[in-house]
Each structure stands twice: as structure tokens, then as C-alpha cells.
Symmetry: C2
Subunit: 269 residues, 2 copies
């Protein structure tokens, strides 16, 4: 039986730190199987509930992932996603050598009446004859579910959108077949815990920390063409964002940004 008890710091936290150190030191490499809760309890001479509390911390911190309702494994490094890049998640994953995918949950056409006021307002719709496409997808990276995307598109801008292969990049479809180039967006971000309902749909654990984004996307001629509510797993994704006041854009600091961003990305390697 290993002995790690020291005063003051709770045991479950000490056990979590010990396991975290083993992960960071490479003793437990990515995808290594974590000992079962009962094994940990015996090894450290603690109760199973205490061992479980330790694992739960590491799951929430993203160091460990549970598969199904089965055992826990050391997590792979986080994916990187630039919130301010016009290229969407799909393109960014592909550029990073990760296989992006999507599982279609819902694809339907809704009449104006069925829209929430928020959606209608965000898409600047006031014609009661209008229809809107509603698409819900689980986004995956190397087959792993990493985000849920609940999006709305004005039907008159993208006729027969639902006939395309909606497991591809939707922004790619808009660009290729409809000539729509996303030029800007307004996003609202909230940190939250994954809802039981969404967790069920995504097939991951409830209560994982997530980044929720409500996004209003515009074309270059200032027309809103998408309203979306995205939920990203915070335990699997590292987010990047660039911000600036308009003046600095006019001063041509785009290059500076690119340099600085390259620095950040180089460091993350």
C-alpha cells in the first residue's frame, strides 16, 4: 500500500495530483488505462468514494477521459481552435492533420412561426413567408465527439441546402455552391457545464466544462447568413482568439497579428 498522506490537503486531491504527475511525467502516456477505482482505493488505503473523487477532478480538468460508462484513460492532447479565424472548425482541424467529421442529428426546414424571437432577430427576418433551415450536428475530431452545433440558415439564401452532404463542412458548402464568404461575426461566449440532454446526444459525460457560443455570422455585404448555438468541450479543446480595435486594422497590423499568432502556435507544439 502506497503512503501519500500529508496534513491539510485533502486526500482525494493528493491522489489526483499524484496521478496528474504520472501523466505529465509520461509514466502514464496518452490512452493508457487508469487503474480502476477499487484498485486505487486498495493501493492508497482509502475508500472507493475518495478514489473516485480524485478521478473526477482529473476528468473535469481534461487529463482523463471516461469511455462509455466504462473505464478511464489518459486523454490525448487538446485540439486547437481559433475562434477568430474565418476558417471554421472543420478546416482548422484538417490543417492540423486531424480528421474532422460530423454526425447529423437534425436537418429540417422550419416556417417563420416556429422560430424563437432570438433566431428571427439574429437572421434579420421579418417576412412571415420565410423559411429557415435548422441543422443540428455533433462535430467530431478523429472520431471523438468534441462539439455540438445547433445552427439556422435562411432558406432563401441557400436553396436546397439540406440536399447536400451535411456531414461535410457547411461553410465549405456555402462557399463552394452558394458563393458565400463569411466575413465577420458577433459571438457571445459562456462557460457552462454540459447539460444531461446534450451529453446524451454527444455521447459524453454530463457536467464536463464547455464553452457555449452564440454566433451571428455576416457576409461581406453585411447580411446575416447564420445564427448558431455551439457547445464545445472545454476538456478537449484549447481556444485561440485575436481581437483588435478597427483602427489597428486600418493601420495594416494584420501582418503583426499573423506573426504573433504564429508565435503562440509554435509554443503550443
Amino acid at each position: 500500500m502506497a503512503e501519500i498522506r500529508t496534513p491539510n490537503r485533502p486526500i482525494y486531491r493528493q491522489v489526483a495530483e499524484q496521478i496528474a504527475e504520472e501523466i505529465e511525467a509520461g509514466i502514464l502516456p496518452a490512452d493508457a488505462r487508469i487503474s480502476s477505482e477499487r484498485e486505487l482505493a486498495e493501493r492508497y488505503g482509502i475508500s472507493r468514494m475518495t478514489a473516485r473523487a480524485a478521478i473526477n477532478i482529473l476528468v473535469q480538468r481534461g487529463l482523463i477521459v471516461r469511455r462509455n460508462r466504462s473505464r478511464a484513460y489518459v486523454a490525448q492532447p487538446k485540439f486547437r481552435f481559433d475562434l477568430s479565424s474565418p476558417g471554421g472548425l472543420h478546416e482548422q482541424l484538417r490543417k492540423a492533420g486531424v480528421e474532422p467529421g460530423a454526425k447529423l442529428i437534425t436537418a429540417e426546414m422550419l416556417p417563420y412561426d416556429a422560430l424563437s424571437p432570438r433566431v428571427a432577430q439574429a437572421l434579420a427576418l421579418d417576412d412571415e413567408e420565410t423559411f429557415v433551415y435548422h441543422i443540428v450536428r455533433v462535430r467530431t475530431a478523429n472520431g471523438e465527439p468534441i462539439a455540438l452545433e445547433d445552427s439556422y440558415f435562411p432558406a432563401h439564401l441557400f436553396p436546397d441546402l439540406l440536399d447536400f452532404n451535411l456531414t461535410d463542412s457547411i461553410y465549405g458548402i456555402l462557399r463552394k455552391y452558394f458563393g458565400v464568404e463569411p466575413a465577420g461575426s458577433v459571438q457571445e461566449l459562456e462557460i457552462s457545464l454540459l447539460d444531461a440532454e446534450w451529453a446524451e446526444i454527444m455521447g459524453v459525460a454530463v457536467d464536463l466544462p464547455t464553452l457555449e457560443i452564440w454566433r451571428q455570422a455576416f457576409t461581406a455585404d453585411n447580411a446575416p447568413f447564420e445564427f448558431a448555438h455551439d457547445i464545445y468541450r472545454g476538456d478537449r479543446i484549447l481556444f485561440i482568439a485575436r481581437t483588435a480595435s478597427p483602427e489597428s486594422f486600418l493601420a495594416g497590423s494584420g501582418l503583426l497579428w499573423q506573426r504573433a499568432l504564429d508565435n503562440l502556435q509554435a509554443e503550443g507544439a
Copy 2:
């Protein structure tokens, strides 16, 4: 004894939902005191550990706050913070009618040798004679700790910076006394759980969900003047961000943004 057991959904989650509903319905208004864990256990006919699990969910979701190591109260609505606004947290809180404050934790001048490579690189320092100011503060809103700010400033740009009142807005000081206008930044965002060490400094519960930001800020002439590592409480803050490709700025879509942002803010009320 109240009866709320139904099949399938775990009891602690049902109790959490019940309390959440009472909060949303206004039966438990902001600052109302939550029943003690033992009281809840008795009322619902469950064990104290189960009642405690229910409360923990609501604390992490930001609906409930624990004060000290004492009882739990219904949380006030979240503060709003626009990550892409050049105005910092201080100014934004003030505009929203909230009293911003800061508690100084550390204020020191460091030689080049003491800097981590990341700090030196972010500030574009290569002169080994250089000094850097290092300031750590706990940011508060209406007296409540909401963020921790760990920032570095090149000393040659801001001589005697430490002599100013560092519980004021630092950006305000830079602007007023040094004529430095922040023009842009590159930020890296990560969702994480609050570290025991930082939780201690901030005086809040460990493991709260947070937004960590590493920020490199630039003046209009592209000189980096700040590198900062901020930790924001996700349970108390709602974040907003605007993004766009440079082209849309040149096309003059700033007004559009302002309109869209106003919409978002109006809805949040």
C-alpha cells in the same frame, strides 16, 4: 418529507433541478440563503452526501455561491465582459453600473534573467539590461472577487509604474500618464478549473470553472506593451467577443457590429 423520486435520473440531479427551478421561478431570489445540507437531506428523505452533490452541481453552474466555508446563497446575475473591446474590465464594469476594484497581491520589478521565455518573447525583449514590472491583482466587482490578473509591463515604457495606485484601472494609468492607447491584442483562451493555489489567493472555492486568457497587447505602432495571464470566474461572468476578417473592417462594418452587439446586450437584460 417531499417526494420527488422518479426512475432513471439520479436523485442528486433531481434535487438540483428542483432547486434550480425555484431559483429561476424567483421563489429563491438572489442572495437568498439555501437550506443547509442536513436540512435538505431531511426534507427530501435522502442522505447528506446526496444533498451535497446536488448543491455542488448548482455551485459549478453558477446558480449558487458558497461564502467562505459557510452557507450557500443564490447567486447574483452574471457580469458581462466584452473580450474584444479595447476598454478593459474596469471600464466595462463601471459603464454597467458596477463598482470595479482590485486587491494588489504582488508588485515588483524583475530583471531580464528572472523572466520566463514566454514573457520575454511576448514583450519582444532581447536586451539583458531590461527590467519588467510584474503585477498580480485580484479584480473585484461590487467587492466580489471575479478575476485574477498576472501581468508584465516593460519598465522602460512605463517608468515608476509601481508608484501609481495599482488598485485603479491600469489601462487607465497607461492612457492618462503614459499616453499609451491599447490598439490590439492576441489572446489565447482555455477553459479550466480553478487551481487550489489561485482559489486561495482569490478567496473562492477551488475547482470553479474559469476562463484563462494569455494576452499580448499592442500599441497602435505595433509595440507589445503588456503580457498578461488572466483567470476569470466562469460562474460569475458572461463573455462577449467580436471577430471579423480584416476585409470587413475596411468595408466599414463597424457600425453593423455595434448594432448586433446592442441586440445581444438588450436580450441579456
